[in-house]
Amino acid sequence: MNFPSPSSADAVVSVTSLSRRFGSKQALDDVTLHVPRGCVFGLVGENGAGKTTLIKHLLGLLKAETGRVQVFGQDPVADPVGVLSRVGYLSEYRDLPAWMRVDELLNYTRAFYAKWDSRYAEELREQFGLDPAQRVRTLSQGQQAKAGLLLALAFRPELLLLDEPSSGLDPVVRRDILEAIIRTVAEEGRTVFFSSHLLDEVERVSDQLAMIRDGRIVLCGRLDDIKQSHRQLVVRFEATLTVAPRFETALTLRGTGREWTILCQGERGRVVAEVHAAGASVLSEQTPSLDEIFVARTAERQLKPAA
């Protein structure tokens, strides 16, 4: 289900019909998305849905089997230097060299990026509370995440790629990282692309959203559009029902007896008409949270078997 997204003309990231297979598993299946400049793009999906695979394609760590990947209008595999010098990356596993000290790590990374801002890096380092003399292997997981984020932010990249930035971190560190990302977004022209399965974060921070399931994009578009097109209805049937009634626009159906909760997507008029046609009345209506939409979307297979 795609909502109209901006044209690919000024897109920072442009993925067209990308597919990828690992042995027998189809990791990505005909993925198409475009990330416009200055946008905060959230990629949402279960573990193993293909988020990390997609991000690796954007960095040139995986070569596109079929389809096309373009970052800043260039192929990241063909021109690694041109693309990677403008991209800041925080990997899910924060693989920093364990033997380096923090100041060595900063000096080392600085040598690669011409736009490195030492003052800003120092400011971030103090803010994150990282001791320059400490070795990376002795840092806690949260500190390693912050160090990784520091390396990705300090040279003010045009595109920030974050793979599960909050995974495995306590709420305090999560908030710190999110604040640092917001500060980056507030600066002009910076694009952020991040994957997460923490939906409240995605809801706070994203402009646009894509939901990926089993390698396929099931939802893509502006966050507001997505939220407005889904609604959660509590309906009351005249007769008691033992079996879930069938609705075309409904994604999930929950309840027993006469009152049922439906989460559906589509035009309001059509949905209400369908409900009335089934002999029920709408008791209440509200916009579901992204969490509920996500769960409904991923549970979709239970409601609509085959076809």
């Binding site: 917001i182 977004v185 507030a186 939906l199 809801e203 916009t287 579901p288 992204l290």
Partner: protein, 129 residues
């Protein structure tokens, strides 16, 4: 300016900000001419996307609740927003419908609802006796 937002509630975040600011202005916690935080600062404070804050401020400006002065910042409007009588009736009419429906569902009598309105009005504007 203390605002709480709940991303998982149904309402869009920008709308929550707009409503809360309107509430603060209406309950005199934000005085006319007072400055509200810049977009960036509020975004960092609430840990939300600055574009959302920008949209909220735009909406508030269009509704005439705040005025953006170039270079200096955004301030609460001195005079209340000018909205046509028909528009006012429409907006409030919708709210009234919702309130009355809820009251009927809960089995509350109309007189009780009027009493409640009086009480809340007094609480909001303690100066007006």
């Amino acid at each position: 300016m203390q605002i709480q937002i709940d991303p998982s509630s149904g309402a869009p975040i920008y709308l929550q900000i707009v409503n809360q600011v309107k509430y603060l202005v209406a309950s005199a916690r934000l005085a006319p001419g007072e400055e509200i935080p810049p977009i960036r600062a509020l975004a960092e404070q609430l840990v939300i996307n600055p574009n959302t804050v920008a949209r909220a401020y735009l909406e508030l400006e269009r509704a005439g609740v705040v005025i953006k002065r170039h270079g200096t910042g955004t301030f609460v409007a001195d005079s209340p927003p000018s909205v046509s009588k028909a528009q006012r009736q429409k907006i409030l009419g919708e709210r009234a419908d919702a309130l009355l429906t809820e009251a009927r569902q809960l089995g509350v009598e109309f007189e009780e609802v009027v009493e409640l309105l009086h009480a809340r009005h007094e609480k909001m504007n303690p100066a007006n006796a």
